[in-house]
Assembly symmetry: C2
Homo-oligomer: 669 residues x 2
């Protein structure tokens, strides 16, 4: 079953674990800090339709800041509903109720529901679907409504949202008088399919399918690409384009350069790409629910696989970050993975890696293979968790692998475009849904365990309750204890992911000679789970290891990793550093020692790593001369001056002061 | 004295030499081939003001192809006049005369002289100075007029051009009713200063000085940047910008983001930057002519020096190419120097390195230092000469250091935007002016020899004739014989450049213990030149050497060089190669042997180099896996399979067939 956002509450996190600790912080601190920000900035009030001064500010184009406001509020709302089901909070509850009231009041008679185009540009609805986030905001409202309905068990938000979906379906669609459009910022597709799964809303399904199939049609409207057509309708010059569009016709920016089935490489804005492909995967997952998706599933899956592999093999950082290009917050060419601004790029938006997690989870339904779960875990513990401060009130939007003078290793408490903070909040809100996948029948029940922590899932098959509990000190240690409860006549298969970095080294207790490893999952069939209600697995691979990017990246660097965690150096631990560790190297055969440390702030423990590196000295003669002299007179990579180095998990960066110097990949000789 | 374009005819090239051979090819083949292209494409006729169908084609914006036509014709005209003075050619002469007649006929009553805005957009003169090349075309017409005047000794072209300059000076200037504009594509500045030097035209001087001083004023017109102001006048959206402008306000594209004195790094379109800074240097060179430039010379020189050093140290390829970014045909960030498209960039327009040559020559007047001449020679023999095929009829526009599937190692016989071909033609036409600098008085005459070849310069000081002849097999061998003729009462100092790659190893014959090396020039004072009318110097450094880019480039590569020549590998000599030499490596301590070869086509000889390299094998397991596994399982740089490699000078590439595979920098372990 897909949509972990609706399944999370069948999972309870127990403590202590890094995930439990972070989830508590999000619930008790982040949700409140963001609510304050929503109020301070005017967002909270937007659905009241009162005009605020900022609505007259046209210094940003094509998206004045409030264009995104509906989505910021909706994401917070969605996250709040998830968190409430875990731990009740009166202030959050009251705010949710007030916002829902405002949203209901903001709906227009015909069902239209978008504050920017109601308050600021009432005549311009649906005139710039490419750039102005109208459908994107609708998508987040849909997701908020589903979360709201699940928690409050009422239709107060679902009802206006379904009316809005109905309205959209009159404006956009295949009919001769309809706009043959699709979202400039995909998201709506996956939201509509969640709505369909949750409520059976057929219109939502049809609209999502239309968006996916129509997307990239270069002759969709009067023989033109829809986006070119709507620009013409607006009377815009064909060369007028947002700064984030590299060229005037760079429709790859929003994955609209070709039909999805014809896209061979992942291009453009990374968040848009991930949300879009998640929606496509959701469409394919419908089969799993016994609902025919009416699309060519094999072809779409082939396309998705190709795009996934292109991304993971050639366009993903070691941290799980994606998007090397600042201008379009997205993908560069294959293997172009500079570590930071002073090397020519590295964006790695927090939301983008959240999107990877969403996409990976859907692909696991379609093709159970640990390669997706490995990346899901990589993103979670590194590219995403680094986006949230330990106290839960500060965030990063961009997650580079190396700081520079232009871009320090720092956090902000909010952003003008503030998608990332509430996105982290809602991800942690529904994190339980990503840990495992489960279902089946009495004769063939299953739990596929993707992520390890300390948690318990409870679910029914044919009215029979199954409970699986896991207990571990993950991500620090590899021993996970399981306890299964199920009626004895229910045949339960448990599949345990063996991460690729474990190199197939693990010990199952009690042992089981017939256990098979299938696509990276250790399969424990009913005979084993019936005989062993309690079992444990010891997964190896927690010895620190050096990892490196592909040689084609021209990044000759070594990075320390341990289990699923990627490490970095920060000046707070290495205060002698003055140049962002640009000239610091380490050899892959260096001895590494571990030291357990405690984070004072939250009492959480972590393993720091220590080793000895070296400093590259660059000959000063290299300056003010061209490179036409012999190597012997050129700047040399001279390894001098041994240096003790302390490494911390990347997710801990920018939490403990310092001057903003940080690096993940150090020079490798 | 500056402006080598007007001094070249005091130099005679003798043979045989690479420069003589190429100059003959340009004269006998290139000039004719380009004349045919001018005629085929309609350019030749443009000054007749007949409307051609292409004038209605608005598929390119903001510059439909014919916007540049005046400049293409003007550059050919300029080059033709240079070449005619070397070798008369009736067809070229007739064409020049016909074009000049058309240009005279194209001038409007008020002096205006631009074909696009006369034929195609008559109401739009001076409405888009930023993008539409009106002043750039004017600049090239001025340069053509000076060349024409020099050769034909009449004012047939100077006269209408001076009238046009007068007209421009009424439209643009500091007056309250004038446009406070400056060229979107600089070039006009240096052209106007050449005109001033050649004719004393005070208006030209004032206009050039205004362009230079006003440039980058962010509040120049009604409190706005001129370019923003004119966009507003046109009624354009402030976000409408050419595809080559990275963002809507990227005025750094044409070096207009700040006043020149405040520019600390070289930014934007590379050709524009070089032409602009050449114009600034020309303004400073006026002092040398005894004309006060009325600008703060020290400050401008400091700015130019900073920009030069930034470019040479951090933004120049080993070939002398500049501009790593395709989108704006220009500079990237410091040390961002990928070798080709599949590494994320490399543009290196032929015109840009011609611009470096021009700028370097001017800087040598202001600050005699071999570092400028070294780069001048590097650009000439590598980044520029590679732009012309051996038969003189095919060209490159972009000069990457490595080919790729997207961008093969190939030539074209013309381009839609065809600045480079006639630019090479006019450079070779006036090349004599770059070889040396000379002048002074009877008491203190001098010749500073920047480039070695076989040639003779004849000039007067106070009516006394001085002749210096040099004879060598440069760039293949370092022995240069000199013969000086001058009346015995003229005190002549000869300065000989010692290239940096010679590492100060040279032998002067007859020897001279008192000889001093000043800023990379060996100074032979009057006592020596009086005693030795014939002398020779043997410059070392012709043993093949390996060179490498700065470590901050992340380019761990080795390149072979010999004397001033940079070498590359091509598949025509190494036909086993299938992937553009992406995985071919060579060690800096490899033995290299030389083999003299002959180019059948033109009977010119060259030295090929041979060595043994290796192939990097990348473990296939690297694919379809993330980089989170230990190094031991990651793609390794395994040196396997020794390979014999043949290297040829970069300027010979893409001349002898093959499949378009080429690379300058090979992997270095």
């Amino acid at each position: 079953m897909s949509h972990p956002q609706t399944l999370f509450h069948q999972t309870e996190f127990h403590g202590p674990s890094v995930l439990r600790s972070r989830r508590t912080t999000v619930s008790r601190s982040t949700a409140h800090a963001q609510l304050r920000k929503l109020k301070e900035t005017g967002r909270y009030e937007c659905f009241s339709l009162k005009k605020q001064p900022i609505y007259d500010d046209r210094s940003r184009w094509p998206c004045p800041a409030p264009v995104y406001w509906d989505s910021d509020v909706a994401k917070w709302l969605e996250g709040a509903c998830y968190l409430l089901s875990d731990e009740y909070d009166a202030e959050i509850d009251a705010a949710v109720r007030e916002i829902v009231g405002m949203i209901r009041g903001a709906q227009q008679e015909d069902g239209y529901l978008n504050t920017w185009f109601t308050i600021a540009e009432p005549g311009k609805r649906w005139t710039n679907i490419r750039d102005q986030h109208e459908l994107y905001c609708a998508g987040h409202l849909i997701e908020a409504a589903i979360a709201h309905g699940n928690y409050y068990k009422n239709n107060l938000l679902i009802e206006p949202i379904e009316k809005y979906v109905k309205h959209i379906s009159t404006v956009i669609g295949p009919g001769p008088d309809q706009k043959h459009a699709y979202p400039g910022h995909p998201e709506t597709e996956l939201a509509l399919l969640r709505l369909y799964t949750a409520t059976g809303n057929q219109t939502a399904y049809e609209l999502a399918k239309y968006f996916i199939e129509e997307r990239g049609n270069q002759k969709g409207q009067e023989g033109m690409s829809y986006y070119d057509w709507e620009a013409k309708q607006r009377g815009d010059s064909p060369w007028l384009h947002p700064d984030s569009y590299q060229m005037h016709d760079s429709h790859w920016y929003n994955q609209a350069h070709a039909p999805i089935l014809e896209q061979k490489s992942v291009e453009g804005h990374a968040v848009r790409a991930m949300y879009l492909f998640t929606g496509v995967a959701d469409l394919l997952c419908l089969d799993e629910l016994g609902i025919k998706s009416y699309v060519h599933k094999d072809k779409y899956f082939e396309a998705l696989s190709g795009l996934w592999n292109n991304m993971v093999d050639k366009k993903m950082y070691l941290t799980g970050g994606i998007g090397s290009m600042w201008q379009w917050e997205g993908f560069g060419i294959d293997y172009f993975l500079p570590q930071g601004s002073d090397e020519g790029g590295c964006y790695n938006e927090t939301c983008a890696s959240i999107g990877v997690i969403m996409l990976a989870e859907r692909l696991l339904h379609l093709d159970l293979n640990s390669k997706y779960a490995d990346i899901m875990e990589l993103c979670l513990y590194n590219a995403v968790m680094t986006g949230l401060s330990l106290d839960g009130t500060a965030f990063t939007y961009v997650n580079q692998l190396a700081s520079s003078e232009a871009d320090g290793n720092r956090r902000e408490d909010w952003f003008d475009t503030s998608c990332c903070p509430p996105n982290v909040m809602r991800l942690f809100g529904c994190l339980g849904g990503y840990l495992w996948d489960y279902g089946g029948s009495v004769k063939d029940a299953y739990v596929n365990v993707h992520l390890y922590t300390t948690a318990k899932v409870t679910f029914q098959v044919e009215d029979q309750q199954i409970v699986l509990e896991q207990k571990s000190n993950w991500p620090w240690e590899g021993n996970i204890m399981f306890q299964l409860q199920a009626p004895i006549f229910v045949a339960v298969t448990v599949r345990l992911r063996i991460p690729s970095w474990a190199r197939n080294q693990f010990t199952l207790t009690p042992s089981y000679k017939a256990a098979k490893l299938e696509n990276g999952y250790l399969v424990l069939p009913p005979p084993y789970t019936a005989a062993n209600r309690a079992f444990s697995i010891q997964i190896d691979g927690f010895k620190p290891r050096f990892i490196s990017p592909h040689p084609y990246t021209n990044q000759k660097t070594s990075t320390l990793a341990r289990g699923p965690l990627i490490y970095c150096v920060e000046d707070v631990d290495n205060p002698w550093e003055q140049d962002h560790f640009r000239n610091v190297g380490i050899q892959s055969d260096s001895e590494v020692t571990e030291k357990e440390e405690e984070i004072d702030q939250i009492g959480e423990r972590y393993v720091a790593l220590r080793s000895v590196g070296w400093i590259r000295k660059i000959d000063d003669r290299a300056e003010s001369k061209s490179g036409i002299e012999p190597d012997s007179s050129l700047p040399q990579t001279v390894m001098t001056e041994k240096k003790d180095l302390t490494f911390v998990p990347y997710y801990l960066r920018a939490n403990r002061g310092g001057r903003g110097h940080m690096r993940v990949g150090l020079l490798r000789q």
